[in-house]
C-alpha cells in the first residue's frame, strides 16, 4: 500500500472536516487535524479541547468521530512549533517560516509512516500558502464551497472575525492587496457583526452587502492562489 500523504486544503466552513472524517475513519490512515491550530500550543489548551470535544463539534456541526487532536498528544516538538514559530494570521502569502512549516509537516508524516499509516492532513481554516503544501509529495485536495452558503455559515459560527483579524494583520504589515480592502472597510464604516435581540446587527442591506463583498474577495483570492498548483479540485454545495 502506498503511504503517500493526503492533504486537504480548505477554507472555513467548506466541508473539509467532513471529508477529513471520511478518510480518517479508514484504518489505513493516521489523521492530523488542523496541524497549525492555536490549541496545539499548550497541553492545557489541548485538554480544554478534549474535555469539550462533543460540545465543540456540535457547535461546528461536525461529524468527526475521533477527537480532533488525538494524534498530536504529548509531543514536545509539536507544542514547541505551535507555541513559538507559527504565525497564524498570514493568509496565503509567502512566509518567513516556510521551511519550519515544511519540516513540521514532514515530522508528522514520519510519525504516521512509523505506524505504517497514510498521513492525512486537513490544513487550517485560513489557507496556508500552497507553496508549502506543493513542496511535499502528496495527494492534494483543494475544497471550496459556493460563496453565499460559506458566507452565512461563517457568520453563524464566527461572525467573520477571523477574516477581519487577518485583514487587520495584513494592513499593519502593509501587505497588498489587503490594504485596499482595509481602506474599503474604514471608508464604509463597516461594523463588527454582533447579535442584538437575536438578530445580526446589519444596520441595513448595504452593510450586509459590504461584509459579503469583503468575504468574496478572500474567497476569490484563495481560489486564485490555489489554482496555481496541481490540486485535485472539488466543490461542496449546500
Amino acid at each position: 500500500m502506498s503511504l503517500k500523504p493526503i492533504i486537504i486544503q480548505n477554507f472555513f466552513r467548506s466541508g473539509g472536516s467532513y471529508l477529513y472524517d471520511l478518510f480518517n475513519n479508514k484504518s489505513e490512515t493516521l489523521g492530523f487535524y488542523e496541524p497549525f491550530h492555536e490549541s496545539l500550543s499548550s497541553n492545557e489548551r489541548i485538554k480544554v479541547e478534549k474535555d469539550n470535544f462533543d460540545k465543540f463539534k456540535n457547535k461546528l456541526s461536525h461529524s468527526n468521530k475521533e477527537f480532533y487532536f488525538e494524534n498530536f498528544l504529548n509531543d514536545e516538538f509539536i507544542l514547541k512549533f505551535n507555541s513559538e514559530k507559527f504565525q497564524r494570521l498570514i493568509f496565503l502569502m509567502k512566509r518567513n517560516d516556510s521551511e519550519d512549516c515544511k519540516e513540521y509537516l514532514e515530522y508528522l508524516i514520519s510519525l504516521a509512516k512509523k505506524k505504517n499509516k497514510i498521513p492525512l492532513f486537513k490544513i487550517n481554516r485560513l489557507y496556508l500558502n500552497p507553496d508549502i503544501i506543493n513542496s511535499i509529495s502528496s495527494s492534494k485536495i483543494f475544497l471550496y464551497r459556493d460563496p453565499v452558503s460559506t458566507f452565512w455559515s461563517n457568520i453563524k459560527l464566527n461572525r467573520l472575525n477571523p477574516f477581519y483579524y487577518s485583514l487587520d494583520y495584513h494592513w499593519k504589515e502593509k501587505i497588498e492587496p489587503f490594504k485596499e480592502i482595509y481602506d474599503f472597510v474604514l471608508k464604509n464604516k463597516i461594523q463588527k457583526i454582533e447579535i442584538i435581540d437575536n438578530k445580526y446587527n446589519f444596520r441595513n442591506e448595504e452593510q450586509l452587502n459590504f461584509h459579503y463583498s469583503v468575504f468574496v474577495f478572500f474567497w476569490l483570492k484563495g481560489l486564485e492562489e490555489n489554482l496555481k498548483y496541481n490540486f485535485f479540485l472539488s466543490t461542496t454545495i449546500i
Binding site: 502506498s2 478518510f23 497588498e176
Partner: protein, 65 residues
C-alpha cells in the same frame, strides 16, 4: 477519489442541509468588484471554473467579471 489515493471513500451518507438563510444572496459592491478585476487574475479564474464545469455552480461569480 479512487485514482487519487490508495484508499477509497464514498459519499453516500452525505446530508443536504436545507437552510433558508443560505438562499439569501447579498450583493457585491461595485468598488470591490473593480478591485477584484484590478488585483486578481480573473480571466484565469474564469477559465479554470469553465474547464471544470463550475461556471454553472458558481454562476454569480463567473458572471461577475
Amino acid at each position: 477519489m479512487n485514482d487519487l489515493t490508495s484508499i477509497s471513500i464514498n459519499f453516500t451518507d452525505f446530508k443536504i442541509i436545507d437552510n433558508p438563510i443560505y438562499k439569501m444572496k447579498p450583493k457585491i459592491s461595485d468598488e470591490i468588484k473593480n478591485l477584484i478585476i484590478k488585483r486578481l487574475n480573473t480571466q484565469k479564474i474564469k477559465k479554470e471554473l469553465k474547464s471544470r464545469k463550475f461556471d454553472e455552480t458558481f454562476k454569480e461569480i463567473y458572471e461577475l467579471f
